[in-house]
Symmetry: D3
Subunit: 141 residues, 6 copies
């Protein structure tokens, strides 16, 4: 088994805000992240696929194909968008890095088989800043 990773980049606006709470409680819990006028980040997204290399190519997955897939399925939805307002798959969800990583997994996991028969999705790693990041390995892991 080899783990193969591709790093992509997008930027977006968001706020952390629970609509079931008062404005005061949101500010108490989320601090400046609850700013109603939004703030934003440059996100780094690392997608890892695991499998045994195809003996004919030496590849678990062609990283150019993986890059194209991530751009088409994920970055076109997220780049230069507002995570709370513009992104259908985030509608009604908290715009935390944790939740966003899970949703990216849910989008990409069924699509990996369209670009390789030698690997499957292993991990979504998402940096909100160079100092804050999350990793998700799928449900039940």
């Amino acid at each position: 088994m080899i783990y193969v990773s591709r790093k992509e980049h997008f930027n977006a606006a968001h706020k952390l805000y629970n609509p079931n709470w008062s404005r005061e409680k949101n500010i108490e819990i989320f601090g400046p992240c609850a700013n109603e006028n939004w703030h934003g980040h440059n996100y780094d997204l690392i997608v890892t696929v695991s499998g045994d290399p195809d003996p004919e190519t030496g590849f678990v997955v062609d990283l150019k194909k993986l890059s194209v897939l991530i751009k088409k399925e994920v970055l076109e939805e997220l780049d230069h968008q507002n995570l709370n307002l513009d992104v259908p798959f985030m509608a009604g969800k908290m715009a935390s890095t944790e939740v966003l990583a899970q949703e990216i997994w849910n989008i990409l996991e069924p699509k990996i088989s369209s670009i390789t028969s030698h690997g499957s999705l292993f991990c979504i790693k998402l940096y909100e800043t160079p100092r804050n990041y999350v990793e998700y390995y799928g449900p039940g892991v």
Copy 2:
């Protein structure tokens, strides 16, 4: 002469949008950066002070004092804010990295003498993303 630099960090939302233009023209010129629902960035800010070191301290400027000054005068205004809506010194200005760097210069330049008598502001370097950045050395340079 020695050039001494301190790197700080903030994140913010913004859009590139000229209110004198139609929405169509803004989208034509600024593309996804004109998204009316905003997007955002992690900005890296490098402030450079130049001068001759004080022989008693070996410092052109105490970088802890410079860090405190940048946080108080600049980051408290910008961090987790919307550059177009929340920042008084950006009101009515284009929220480009170029303009933001000039405004940060205008704020910090007169304040450097409050933390050192051996140096003056030399450069504002501002990264909007790891791949896009600007430098400003003051008016007339």
Copy 3:
């Protein structure tokens, strides 16, 4: 399960020196790291907490709270200190990155429950230099 990480920074002096050995043996084993006048490093510390996000916040742990905890419990003990002379929890121990990572685990592991009920400490990753680092996942792992 989501893995959430926060990166912090400190710098310190240390030497690698086994007091049960002669000076010659220390130099033979540790080379310049045994310099009796000390050397030092900028350490990067990454603390990872794992758990299921709280549905109300979208957080496994509030990374601002994690940052405050790391600063209070770990960085106040280590930053700008001498690991061999100034740090009570390193007294009588080898000041290697391996041992330091284990001791940081021992300090933080029981404190994570004070900042989240949705996660527990998963990993301490400690960079001594950009090229040398260790990871520790707790006893018995």
Copy 4:
């Protein structure tokens, strides 16, 4: 158990080319990576050894010894070389990052015991570019 890592660097030329295929099929599958005149990369190699620290040194492995071993066994074979033409252990193999990481494992795994009795090889992580990398944990993992 502690995981201790050392990062090294080399650069090399290569092409992705399956000699059982026509030139046209190679270009179709590998695109510009099949350029018959070669291209190249700065590779970053991270070698991770796991074990319990030696109580007398605080080390799982002396990272200077690990660095010397990597240089002698791996970098002398790869640095400033052509992976397809100059490297005996890559002869007849696809010069993908996946295959190269496996071969580096095969070289280093039996040699770790020559520099430490407290650890064994855990992972080979190989960056072909800052955005493309692979990890290998040995056969059967």
Copy 5:
């Protein structure tokens, strides 16, 4: 005056080899860089344009247009190529980072006016590795 920079990336094979010298002299002068089977690098290219921002856009130059220009004029010639064999503008020249930076200047300098009327080319910065790089500010500077 503001200095605006865009970072791009390419990889290539090359060798350092003076055809007027014997093979022995080339190896004596260039060492492993003279390997006749080539080696290669991931190059980072930073292009800096200087000028006064356009008051209507806040831009010295639209960095998306600058990125497109660099890709079309420079990266299409260099990426995944052999600098000695495949690149017309390097034919008959030493494939050093110094010479390559000068040639990139010569290509881009006359083209900047096609994407902005507010700036001109100021600097080409070219990293051959993260530790080796050159800067060129044009002839006569």
Copy 6:
């Protein structure tokens, strides 16, 4: 004119302490940097040489020779040392980054002509941490 740079690395212990002042005043001015038991850093040193490339090599300076020179003249004096106690050229001087950069200039400037006849020392850039650094261009600049 081309500017060619080489990045090297060392680590060291130091303290900021003016022996003409009381201990209290040192702590007041330098804070934790005055810790009498020392602290330390991983320093990054970038040395820039400027000149016209030699037409026969394409080099302003052979960066391998520059690396060897920096290691012999500077790093052997500084790496794994105490800047206040172990380094003859820092004796009696404040161990600030500013002063250290000036002293490295004084050592290297007269030696560059021993490795190239096409360039001279242009800049010493010294990072004390990734966020604090200084640049020195020689006396009278």
